[in-house]
């Protein structure tokens, strides 16, 4: 049974964002090995290989979508940017 370690909320605008290392991999304790991301508001695009997405490239992430990141590698390499005119919002839950 996994345990929830932390949450964070990220507003995604015109600059590429990544998940926050200080939250998913704190100086004390084990890092997260799983993350579930809930998307809200404006559409976004993402990659999970460290590559920067753009407004026209990357997997489309829309309001209500849920993305599960199954490893620390996916978590570290998650990159996201908004793809429309409105900012998107990500709510991320990290688990051990």
């Amino acid at each position: 049974m996994s345990k929830v370690l932390a949450h964070e909320e990220i507003i995604v605008s015109t600059a590429v964002k990544q998940l926050t290392p200080a939250i998913y991999s704190p100086t004390e304790g084990a890092p997260a090995v799983f993350a579930i991301i809930h998307a809200e508001d404006g559409p976004m695009r993402y990659f999970v290989n460290g590559q920067n997405p753009s407004q026209s490239s990357g997997a489309l992430l829309e309001d209500g979508d849920i993305v599960e990141l199954p490893s620390i590698y996916h978590i570290k390499d998650f990159r996201v940017i908004r793809s429309g005119n409105d900012d998107g919002k990500l709510t991320v839950t990290y688990e051990d």
Partner: protein, 182 residues
């Protein structure tokens, strides 16, 4: 380990399914004759032995398992006789009863959902569904019998047996229904 991305459209659909009382209704068998038979598990809705049918007191019955509303006694609404399939469809569509005008003829799954397999002659709970004029004349459903498009699926009140009757020439009873999901 793979990335899992669930699209909101699919998630909404799944939530919709869960929010209904949806799922198969219980068969009605509440005695277990053999280990692990239907009566042993009594799977289906409503859960936990809750009441399945509700008599609305206006000649209609609501099935808490399927969400469907039924006419309790077709005779009360002038449908207590056998009729051709087309006439049965029309009668349901034109029915205005208990404050509702969206009655229709049930499909075969809906019709079969009223069967209580612990009963026969008729195979339904007569506390909620009136005794039919006779139990050996089927009730029509709106479901066509593929590939025989001159036939429609029907259900015998006697034992809930599913059968087919000819649309152009056979005459059966009908029990209007309303509600459900498209």
């Amino acid at each position: 380990m793979h990335l899992n991305h669930k699209k909101s459209s699919r998630i909404v659909n799944r939530i919709t399914e869960i929010q209904t009382d949806g799922g198969l209704p219980k068969t009605g068998q509440n005695m277990s004759w053999y280990m692990f038979d239907d009566g042993y598990y009594q799977m289906g809705f409503p859960l936990g032995g809750a009441q399945r049918f509700v008599d609305n007191g206006d000649g209609t019955v609501t099935d808490m398992a399927t969400g469907l509303m039924w006419v309790s006694d077709p005779t009360m609404v002038g449908l207590g006789f056998t009729m051709y399939w087309y006439d049965a469809i029309d009668a349901c569509e034109n029915l205005n009863f208990a404050g509702h005008s969206d009655w229709r003829m049930p499909n075969i799954f809906e019709l079969m959902s009223t069967v209580d397999h612990s009963r026969y002659d008729p195979a339904w709970d007569t506390m909620y569904f009136a005794y039919p004029p006779d139990t050996w004349t089927p009730f029509w459903s709106s479901t066509i019998c593929a590939p025989w498009t001159d036939g429609a699926w029907c259900m015998y009140p006697y034992d809930g047996y599913k059968t087919t009757y000819g649309i152009p020439w056979d005459m059966c009873y009908v029990r209007p229904v309303r509600g459900g999901q498209a």
